[in-house]
Amino acid sequence: MLAFLDDPKVLHGIYALGALTLFFIGLYGLLAKRHLLKMLISIAVMELSVYLLFIGLATSPGETAPILSDGLTAFTDMADPVPQALTLTAIVIGLAVLGLGVSLAIQYHRLTGKVDVASMTELKEL
């Protein structure tokens, strides 16, 4: 019944649509929420959708993970390892950026007592 999923076009289309949905959920959160931590979480959701897109599009139906195990003996019919390695890099960088952003938000709140971006008016000319 699910044989149509073996077509790479269908499968990649589903992956792309899902990642796109997740991305725009994150974008909505970034634009509509005003709490600093919620905005940072929205950015993390957008990052996650890009990782999913990379991993999803790099794998065609029938390909295995690029690891020799479970009786595999040759590196054939395997998923592309380069996007996976790049995604690993991106996850680490995303972690670093998120940690730095959260600590900036905490420090800002500690100094001013504010978490709402709409009330950040320290540098605004009156």
Partner: protein
């Protein structure tokens, strides 16, 4: 559920704008996706997979991360180091006296937490070390295992307020493993047999593929990366937790979203 009606909680204009963006993007994607999906005859990944046996690493992703794109990994570790330094700067500064709110005392950890962490801590450390050391054989590696080890220490810090990471020791561990990474790269560059940065100068026969001691320098470099990532992430956790007593609960508790 709050008493605020749904139309007040959802920003309609923003939602419509985002939906418009999404529709436009999806339309462009629909045009673009017709090209290149089946037409890819060869990619970098295929070439790397074809010659991956030369690294004798059973995990092709690991050989891409550590060997073919090892220089990238060095930059990535540097970014993580800079972020950890920045976070340490924010939380370890002298500005704490300027905090305008009184510090609420930290509540003692829950008994379940303490008992559970006592059970989980050695298991998590063991799992982390396993994931680091088998990075060239199975899914995992230095980054993943390092974060697992850091999580173990994070739980320990949550459960035991008297437990503190010694920053000098963490810094020493981090600099030693970082210099070890660069040293490995330079050794590969200077030895005549490889003459490339991060070249695999140790013997790595293909027949040994799949064993723990195989793939030459790849497991050594990944173990160094694991130590470095573990130390950095644990330092980030430690920096954030140590000042938790000063942090007013408003940041997590306030609901200033409208």
């Amino acid at each position: 559920m709050t008493a605020v009606p749904l139309r007040k909680r959802v920003r309609v204009k923003t939602l419509l704008l985002v939906l418009l963006c999404g529709w436009l993007f999806a339309a462009h994607l629909g045009v673009l996706l017709q090209y290149g999906l089946d037409g890819q005859s060869a990619s970098v990944g295929d070439a790397l997979l074809a010659r991956n046996a030369e690294t004798a690493s059973a995990n092709a992703v690991t050989s891409v991360v550590v060997s073919y794109r090892g220089f990238d990994t060095l930059g990535e570790v540097t970014v993580l180091f800079l972020a950890a330094t920045g976070i340490g700067l924010f939380f370890g500064g002298h500005g704490r006296a300027e905090s305008h709110r009184p510090e609420p005392p930290m509540s003692p950890p829950n008994e379940m937490m303490v008992t559970g962490v006592r059970l989980l801590f050695p298991v998590l450390i063991l799992l982390g070390v396993y994931v680091v050391l088998h990075g060239h054989l199975s899914p995992g590696g230095g980054f993943q295992g390092g974060v697992i080890i850091a999580t173990a220490f994070f739980l320990r810090m949550l459960a035991d307020p008297a437990f503190r990471l010694r920053h000098a020791r963490i810094g020493l561990l981090e600099s030693l493993s970082g210099s070890g990474f660069v040293l490995m790269g330079l050794l590969g560059l200077s030895l005549a047999g490889t003459a490339t940065f991060l070249g695999n100068f140790l013997p790595h026969p293909v027949t040994e593929m799949g064993r723990l001691l195989s793939a030459g320098v790849i497991p050594i470099i990944y173990a160094l990366v694991g130590v470095k990532v573990g130390a950095e992430v644990a330092a980030i956790f430690g920096d954030m937790l140590e000042r938790r007593g000063q942090q007013s609960p408003g940041l997590l508790g306030d609901e200033s979203d409208t």
